[in-house]
Subunit: 404 residues, 2 copies
């Protein structure tokens, strides 16, 4: 069987008309002789309404009941899609998490899929049926409804593709793919036709919010090809796949950025073992995510300057935590709430020397000051003043030939 | 264990505030040392919204998927009630039809409860938990969600009371009980404290829309005491019970009526065997409900006059069906769309002679013409001109001392 998994996000099934549209998309794959498995999100807005109700009932709503509550969203959309396909003369039915069953482990509201029992669905596929699976939900060993944390229905779709050995998993959403950078900022941004899991992971965690990093990681671990595309336009999307499937590799795949960073510099910190830990431990305990960290080597061996970045929203809290921390001694604290991070991403940089130089040189030519630098195998990030952000994205996008 | 079943209707759980109110009602029974099992309807409006969506998807929406769709309504309300009880410090959890499980038979959308598996819930009750059961839903042998037809959550509650051998089943709704007649029409209408199943059946099928006849019948067959009361007011409702539990029996319990009848008279029908059947068969096949039927004996033995009543809405269709029916020959058809039925109901009439006389006499004194009469063991109904309806209700309500 040539199996394909189609996932539809909340906006794709956001109204009766869109559910009709989605049903036509499903049929187009049936006509191409695919066996189709559908995973669907809740109609957009429905989950938020339910969450609002739970918050009005209790500021600390029971997680077990929360999952019973919010899982109705996907139950509604999967029955409507199946009903529409029936209306059009196709054999189709809905499957809820407990009916498949999709077994999950972990806590309520943040469960992970452990196993998908295939038997009934395989039988149904062989009979020519189209199973519509409620995404985002499963059951646990206690026979209670669970919902899947990070990734939600994307995770459901990727795990379905894995268990059913699907040829491909297509994520239908409200954007038509992944771009070399934000098309709202840079008009010359181009859609990326093909991208590796690793590059996509860096792109998504840095702000290209097409898919949750967790789901991309699931796909990577299971070697499942994903296509991200729009359910509103009939155009090809972006394929996310193994590195070796990408033939015509560009050095740099895209330029990503963040808009809401803040920088803290501690001047004259006593340089002794454990000082960094004593600074970052209280931040970690308060769920404050530290991103870039730079420590200058001190000239006298006794003092050092430490710079790190956090999200702007966490700035006030972080400053307080540091000031009341008796364990660290420093001369001065400097905060800057007007910085942004710009990154270039591409597996090509591993085998191509001089990428760092080209990046710094291009920025220097435009008088853009680099505040902090951090690098990984396939990514170089620099912190710049926020006023320079657009200029930085633009010059790097051009420098690495992403406009063509 | 002293078990009580509480059922909450759609308006009783119609908002977050009402769910909070309902949770307090539940707790009041816990404080009285009851083990409480709750059956809940969907929040009012929710089911209609879902039905509307299904109609927009298809004018002929698949029943299987319809049940998956509409059963989300009760799933939402039962999780919110359990969540609220948890918030207030009580041990509570939701149970969906498939989790109990509540096994049903029959067609989708009109299933009937066949069995309720008690084990898990009994265990939970013994631990002091409050199970909140989603009403109106079950599963069938195919492991698919079904919904219960006539009676809905009332039926769920009564069957729960039966299987758990509950002391009583309390139906919380938006009316505060059953009245001797419609209080909107007759100001002196009084709430009935206690009524037999049989009387309630006649009352409800004649227009007192407090409970579905089907659910009352379920309660009667299983000898379950029901109290119907308001979730908005802290006052006693109406208890529906076995005849022998009613000590101070009035002859007549109430006056009910219909507002939308029509009468058809066929003059000069050929009087031969099978003629009535040939008239009513096509009506039955078109789901037209015939209520009262009177046939005058013909003087010559060859012709007869036949009168029957139907709902006003069915009049045009019925007239057409009769006129195009070649099997019946008649001289003339007379229709009257302005008639109403008034009934007096009471088990007391079985043992009390003269009730019929008192009824006819009271109506005659007020110059109210009786068009058709029909009687059962505990009910006498008369058809009157609609303009006389209010006068008729009023005089009968007074005649049988229902004002006191």
């Amino acid at each position: 069987m040539k199996i394909i998994v189609l996932k539809f996000g909340g906006t794709s099934v956001g109204s009766v008309d869109r559910i009709k549209n989605v049903s036509n998309i499903i049929i187009s794959y049936i006509k191409k002789k695919y066996r189709v498995i559908v995973a669907t999100s809740a109609m957009s807005g429905v989950t938020n309404e339910l969450v609002k109700k739970s918050e009005q009932i209790s500021s600390n709503f029971t997680p077990e009941e929360y999952d019973v509550l919010v899982s109705t969203g996907e139950q509604i959309s999967c029955s409507l899609i199946a009903g529409r396909l029936n209306h059009l003369g196709y054999k189709s039915r809905s499957w809820l998490g407990w009916q498949v069953p999709i077994l999950t482990t972990g806590n309520y509201s943040s469960s992970r899929i452990k196993n998908i029992y295939k038997k009934d669905i395989v039988k149904y596929l062989k009979l020519g049926g189209i199973p519509i699976i409620a995404g985002f939900q499963g059951i646990n060993f206690q026979n209670r409804i669970t919902t899947i944390g990070r990734g939600g229905t994307d995770s459901s779709a990727i795990m379905l593709a894995r268990f059913f050995k699907a040829e491909k998993c297509i994520i239908y959403t409200d954007v038509d793919g992944v771009y070399t950078t934000d098309p709202n900022k840079i008009k010359k941004a181009k859609k990326i036709k093909i991208i590796s899991y690793e590059e996509m992971l860096e792109m998504s965690s840095l702000g290209a919010k097409v898919m949750q990093p967790h789901s991309i990681q699931d796909a990577r671990l299971n070697r499942i090809d994903i296509e991200v595309r729009s359910s509103f336009k009939k155009i090809k999307g972006t394929t996310i796949t193994k590195r070796k499937n990408i033939i015509n590799n560009k050095i740099i795949r895209g330029v990503s950025f963040t808009n809401n960073d803040a920088k803290i510099t501690l001047i004259g910190v006593k340089d002794k073992p454990g000082v960094a830990a004593s600074i970052f431990e209280p931040l970690y305990k308060n769920s404050i995510n530290v991103d870039m960290v730079v420590q200058n080597i001190s000239s006298n061996g006794k003092e050092t300057d430490l710079t790190f970045t956090i999200k702007s929203d966490d700035l006030i809290k972080t400053e307080k935590l540091i000031k009341k921390n008796k364990k660290i001694i420093f001369k001065k604290i400097i905060v800057d709430n007007k910085v942004s991070k710009v990154s270039i991403i591409g597996v090509g940089m591993i085998t191509t020397p001089g990428v760092t130089f080209r990046m710094f040189n291009a920025l220097a030519k435009k008088n853009i000051n680099i505040i902090v630098i951090s690098t990984s195998e396939i990514k170089i990030s620099v912190l710049v003043n926020r006023k320079d952000l657009n200029k930085a994205i633009s010059v790097l996008h051009k420098e690495f030939n992403l406009e063509n």
